[in-house]
């Protein structure tokens, strides 16, 4: 089985099958680039991901492992038919996978999924964040995401007025 060595920003190495790695658009491109530039077809590619630390990279690979037999979705699936993975239904495994994560980890996972071009993972993590917004008041959203209002002067009041007008109309 052909393997690839994926190295996180903090130096941790993960040895995974190329078949699994190629489910990431980014890793697939890197592997193919390595193959074209390498004289030795047996050589094992080594890919450094300088923006993703080991804990997050492990989670991404774990998710890929679980979903290795899923059909690979095109990057613009949402635009094509209005439905992404998230809307097509998360599996119980996905829910259990995401459940223990705090929002900080989820944000890193979103960035990693985006960087590595893993659309399914990106969809379900974005959906998770969206669920933390839906149904909450402005103050509750700020609290949940540790955000502060940075409106100046009467901007916030004006925004509120504009919103009221939109609802009225």
């Amino acid at each position: 089985m052909a393997l690839v060595r994926v190295i996180s920003s903090d130096g941790a190495a993960f040895l995974v099958s190329q078949r699994l790695a190629k489910r990431s658009g980014k890793l697939k491109t890197e592997i193919e680039t390595f193959r074209k530039s390498s004289d030795n077809s047996e050589a094992q590619p080594e890919i450094r991901i300088v923006t993703i630390r080991a804990e997050i990279l492990r989670l991404v690979l774990q998710w890929l492992q679980q979903h290795q037999n899923d059909p690979v979705l095109p990057a613009n699936q949402n635009e094509q038919d209005g439905r992404g993975d998230a809307e097509m239904g998360q599996s119980q495994w996905d829910r259990d996978f995401l459940a223990p994560m705090d929002l900080g980890i989820v944000m890193e996972l979103i960035l990693a999924a985006n960087h590595l071009e893993v659309k399914g993972l990106l969809d379900i993590t974005c959906k998770l964040v969206e669920s933390k917004i839906t149904g909450r008041t402005v103050d509750e959203i700020r609290t949940a995401f540790k955000l502060k209002s940075d409106f100046k002067g009467n901007e916030e009041e004006q925004t509120r007025l504009e919103n009221r007008w939109c609802v009225e109309n």
């Binding site: 998230a86 705090d102 929002l103 900080g104 980890i105 944000m107 890193e108 979103i110 960035l111 985006n114 990106l122 974005c126 959906k127 964040v129 969206e130 917004i133 839906t134 149904g135 909450r136 008041t137 402005v138 959203i141 700020r142 995401f145 540790k146 955000l147 502060k148 209002s149 940075d150 409106f151 901007e155 916030e156 004006q158 925004t159 509120r160 007025l161 504009e162 919103n163 007008w165 939109c166 609802v167 109309n169």
Partner: protein
């Protein structure tokens, strides 16, 4: 620990984009960044300016990017020369129902440089059409692709029609879609001939009844759609000719130019004629008389809706299903008799049934959907009709009110009945339901003509 702030705008956008509109507005209030992202997601708003006070408009609209603007007020802007909306560069649709201060109109037209659709109401106010206002509107009209003049006609404004004709022909090269509401009686008048010959490359022509005002005759909406980029020969010619709830026989008959247009088409794809009656003895558009229209477009017609005004049709105008056999691409056939004098056309229904019985060889092989509306059968005739229809290998059949006097008796247990009739399995009904609003029956067959539908 990473917060949501670490996400680039494209990812925050992806998250907020899935929120409901109401929740998006709430997200706008969280912080400036979220407001900007939401405004990118929902950048366009339809705005109606009614009795707003001038200074309130600015507050309410803020810096919103407006795509559609409707003015239902006139007097407010008689005192102001500036439209109090900052960003009009996204304005695509403008609806004017009242006259405006010329300076305000100039400001609007100057800043709204992406206008592609205009709706101009005349109503009871003809101020719109003075030369000064027209001159202000012209720069915008030159780029407009869609022009609507609802309830345009009031009184005898012949000159205004001529004005619009000249404006459309000389000043609006981009115009593709034109709609105008006129009274039914005026539509017969020669001054409306220009509606049908306004520009070359007419693709769709539709006359639709849109109701009536008290004291006035019924209004019809005439819609004309052109292909302005039609360079190749294949793209030329009328494709859709529809009269919806408007008496097509009368209109076509009384306006020879329209008759010429209809009878000269070779590539019609959709034909809908309402109230096929005989307005005067010896003239009119019964089935036999429209046969040339169907024949000329036999290679392209895919949808036909015919409403037969049985009230005045002559009994000798026999209904002949064979006319549809020539249509090699026909996919949908809707036949309707609006009045109950069924026997005036079909005797006791025998002629129609005879036509149906021969349908397997008569009706186009590509037909998928058959809709019958208003045909009266006895229970026995209906049974026979079902049997014949089921043999047609159709995908869907809809029978509306009047199809049978005893709907529940005839149709109950259709599948069982079909088996007794010895119908093939694929001809049996898959689903059967009664659309309540029409008191009709719709059933789909298991077998589908997937190659043509």
């Amino acid at each position: 620990m990473a917060s949501i702030d670490v996400l680039p705008n494209e990812l925050l956008c992806k998250i907020l984009d899935t929120l409901s509109t109401e929740q998006k507005f709430r997200a706008r209030e969280v912080c400036r960044r979220w407001k900007d992202v939401v405004d990118e997601l929902v950048p366009f708003y339809g705005v109606q300016l009614c009795d707003e006070k001038y200074d309130q408009v600015s507050t309410r609209f803020g810096t919103r990017r407006v795509s559609s603007l409707k003015f239902t007020c006139g007097h407010v802007y008689s005192r102001h020369s500036i439209i109090p909306i900052q960003n009009l560069s996204f304005l695509k649709r403008l609806v004017l129902t009242k006259s405006m201060n010329v300076d305000a109109l100039t400001d609007l037209i100057t800043r709204a440089d992406k206008l592609i659709e205009m709706e101009i109401w005349n109503g009871y106010d003809s101020d719109w059409y003075d030369k000064q206002q027209t001159a202000v509107l012209l720069p915008a009209l030159r780029k407009v692709k869609k022009l609507l003049l609802p309830k345009y006609e009031h009184g005898n404004q012949v000159m205004l029609f001529h004005s619009w004709k000249h404006i459309i022909q000389r000043e609006m090269p981009e115009l593709q879609h034109f709609e105008i509401d006129v009274s039914l009686e005026n539509l017969f008048h020669p001054r409306f001939y220009w509606l049908a010959t306004l520009k070359p490359n007419l693709r769709e022509f539709m006359v639709q009844n849109v109701g009536r005002d008290v004291g006035f005759s019924p209004y019809v909406r005439v819609t004309t759609i052109w292909n302005v980029n039609g360079q190749s020969r294949d793209s030329e010619g009328l494709r859709k000719f529809n009269f919806i709830n408007a008496p097509s026989s009368v209109l076509i008959h009384e306006t020879p130019q329209w008759e010429t247009i209809l009878f000269n088409q070779n590539n019609l794809e959709e034909l809908q004629l309402y109230d096929l009656v005989v307005p005067r003895p010896g003239k009119g558009y019964s089935m036999s008389l429209i046969e040339p229209v169907l024949t000329k477009s036999m290679a392209t017609l895919h949808t036909i809706r015919l409403d037969i005004g049985a009230e005045r049709i002559r009994a000798s105008d026999d209904f002949d299903m064979e006319i549809f056999a020539k249509l090699a691409t026909l996919r949908e056939l809707h036949l309707s008799v609006r009045v109950v004098k069924f026997q005036a056309i079909f005797g006791n229904g025998i002629n129609f049934l005879r036509g149906i019985k021969n349908c397997s060889t008569v009706i186009s092989a590509t037909l998928c959907k058959l809709v019958l509306h208003g045909f009266m059968f006895s229970t026995e005739e209906a049974n026979d009709c079902i049997k014949q229809i089921a043999k047609l290998d159709l995908e869907k059949v809809v029978l509306f009110r009047g199809s049978t006097p005893e709907i529940s008796t005839v149709w109950k247990g259709f599948s069982r009945r079909a088996r007794k009739m010895g119908l093939k399995k694929e001809a049996r009904v898959k689903t059967l339901y009664l659309p309540v609003e029409f008191a009709g029956i719709e059933f789909e067959f298991e077998h589908k003509k997937t190659s043509t539908c």
